[in-house]
Symmetry: C2
Subunit: 391 residues, 2 copies
């Protein structure tokens, strides 16, 4: 039995499903929320057939698949992954980290394209994502600056090793600086670590981490929603960060600039209702400024030790209970108002009758819903052209 076969697809996932998802994952650039909804509605096989066959899918789905629908490399992509000792993990697989992505379906996150679960995950390595993200298990996303100081690198490595010794998995992004040290610390004590990439799982990015990525795929898991060959385009890092946040019980920011990728991952973790923790540092260090800003947020906290992280995450072996979700502007809206709000098209004016049509709210109730939204500062009139979201 080869290493590839060992970690290959479980027999209970149909090859047709794998091919359909592999095809769609190459066609649509994540996140592709409309395609995600279509797959939820029709299933991957029928969706793939319709996309491949050129069926009219409505303009929203069209915009997500038009560019690459003619490219069908599903069989080759699956083969390439298997050749690397990897596989395509799909929601139909019992090993799919369903709990990790459960929050993506929350009604208040439904409107945002950031919160679409991946159509599948290309995985290289023996690590189980379900074990690390679901149920009674615990995992920590350890993220921070690529240009971390010696202090930040030390904390990332030392704490990740201690967390791994406590039985937690460490999730990160394999970047220079904090990410790499987090993986290394975990590996050093034989712990499980997951690297989520913004490119294909065959790619060593950054190049200096080629050996590190080999070690992770030998003992943990290298994961991506991008097919083999995908390049680490800039926008993909931000898209990828939602997966890092989702695959962990909590996110630990070691050193970060104010508007860094780590800060984005922390914000994603917050949206998902996960624990967000910041490692303090000297106030004289520019790289701790972002950590301290984060620690001052009511939805985040400061951790001064591994014991603090464990206290905040909750002990391994108990079920995760999501902390109360912070109040959001849409909380407390009536159902019609919430639905009308969801039908607003950003800053392009929409008429009241169009809003009624889009939202399915009784047209006679739309004016009251608009009044409610206006009072909450969630909608503004745009002359006589209709209504739009405030700037």
């Amino acid at each position: 039995m080869t290493a590839g076969a060992q970690v290959g697809t479980l027999p209970d996932v149909d090859e047709e499903v794998l091919r359909a998802r592999a095809y769609l994952m190459r066609v649509a650039e994540p996140p592709a929320p409309r395609l995600g909804h279509l797959v939820a509605l029709l299933g991957p096989v029928e969706t793939a057939e319709r996309v491949r066959g050129g069926a009219d899918l409505g303009r929203h789905v069209e915009s997500e698949v038009a560019g690459r629908r003619g490219i069908d490399r599903a069989a080759a992509d699956l083969e390439a992954a298997r050749a690397l000792g990897g596989r395509l993990l799909v929601p139909e697989d019992p090993g799919w980290p369903a709990v990790a992505f459960a929050a993506f379906g929350r009604p208040d996150l439904q409107g945002s394209p950031d919160w679409v679960a991946p159509l599948g995950l290309w995985v290289r390595g023996p690590g189980s994502l379900a074990e690390q993200a679901d149920g009674a298990h615990r995992s920590v996303a350890v993220v921070g600056s690529r240009a971390a100081t010696g202090y930040g690198r030390w904390v990332a490595r030392d704490w990740s090793a201690s967390l791994a010794e406590e039985g937690l998995a460490v999730v990160s992004g394999a970047a220079h600086g904090v990410d790499g040290e987090a993986h290394r610390g975990c590996l050093a004590v034989g712990g499980a670590t997951v690297a989520v990439l913004a490119c294909g799982i065959e790619r060593a990015y950054p190049a200096a981490h080629a050996r590190l990525l080999e070690s992770i795929s030998a003992r943990g898991a290298v994961v991506s929603e991008y097919p083999v060959g995908a390049i680490p385009a800039r926008h993909r890092f931000l898209v990828r960060n939602r997966l890092i946040a989702a695959l962990a019980t909590g996110t630990l920011v070691v050193e970060a600039g104010v508007r860094s990728g780590a800060a984005r991952t922390a914000a994603a973790a917050r949206e998902l209702g996960r624990v967000v923790m910041a490692v303090p540092g000297p106030v004289t260090s520019a790289l701790s400024v972002g950590s301290h800003q984060l620690a001052r947020q009511p939805w985040a906290g400061v951790v001064g030790s591994v014991a603090d992280v464990l206290a905040d995450i909750g002990p391994v072996g108990t079920l995760t209970e999501a902390p109360p979700r912070p109040a959001r502007p849409l909380d407390g809206l009536s159902t019609p108002a919430a639905r009308v709000h969801g039908a607003l098209r950003g800053h392009v004016a929409t008429t009241a009758s169009a809003l009624a049509r889009e939202s399915g709210v009784d047209p006679r109730r739309v004016p009251a819903a608009l009044d409610e939204l206006a009072a909450a500062g969630l909608v503004v009139p745009d002359g006589d052209r209709g209504w739009c979201r405030p700037v």
Copy 2:
């Protein structure tokens, strides 16, 4: 006009009142809550007459004044202070920091001996305590370890200078380490600084700070509730810390051990409903452990910059609004239970009938009140000797 006369007693405070308070301040060791209540009831002059004359004052007040009631050095103490260029500031003086001590009268703090306002304050220096602690003014208590690291000393000095430049007064305890640097930073930019001592205002303690204390008394204020000649006995530092917390809008802990004096000052500030802030530092530094523990408390916060301190304290020129007081163990008790709790004498057993007598609660209601307190873990039976507070 001498410097002493310049900062001497305002003409509108009666010399008799000053003498009465000066006498009582030497007689009773702070905090003397029973004597404080008697002064509130009878006024300082009549109280002093009764104490001096040996009247029966009830055993509680007796226990606070018995040891030194025969010592009447009021005139000499006032003269000694004046000779130092100082004076006795009393509640009858318009310059008394009444707002600073207002919270001491809060019903939930009444039972505790920690929360008795001083009978007066011996003050050396031109600084106005009322300006620094009251109304629209802002002041920050900067406290921390005597054994502060270079980092902690730098933060104390640099931030105190910046806070002084923003118009805030810096209050501290004149100790080695953080305290001294806080005063120095403030003085370096010509700012107002207040040193609250645990001994007489004539005393240079620590001796190495003799020149620093001279500078503070020349441009700010050196303050104590202890008369000239009082030595810095160990217990007086803890008693003194409540004054540091009370005289400041917020307390900033720079570096502190877990059960340090600074942590006590922060706890006192919390009790008073003041802002409590912790300066983060490297997680690798033993002296930042206490700061990080503090920062994790729901009633405290982390500050990464002077801007954060200003944001938390509120801008100079706006009226202080006390943050919502954190829940305390005594919150939610019925009135009889709260009164019975107040009548408990620490760890010495008190019988139910004595508790009824002391608390004024109907003896028939005392058993139910004790049940309520026992359920809240606030009282334990002591064999057949009665009831006492839990260890």
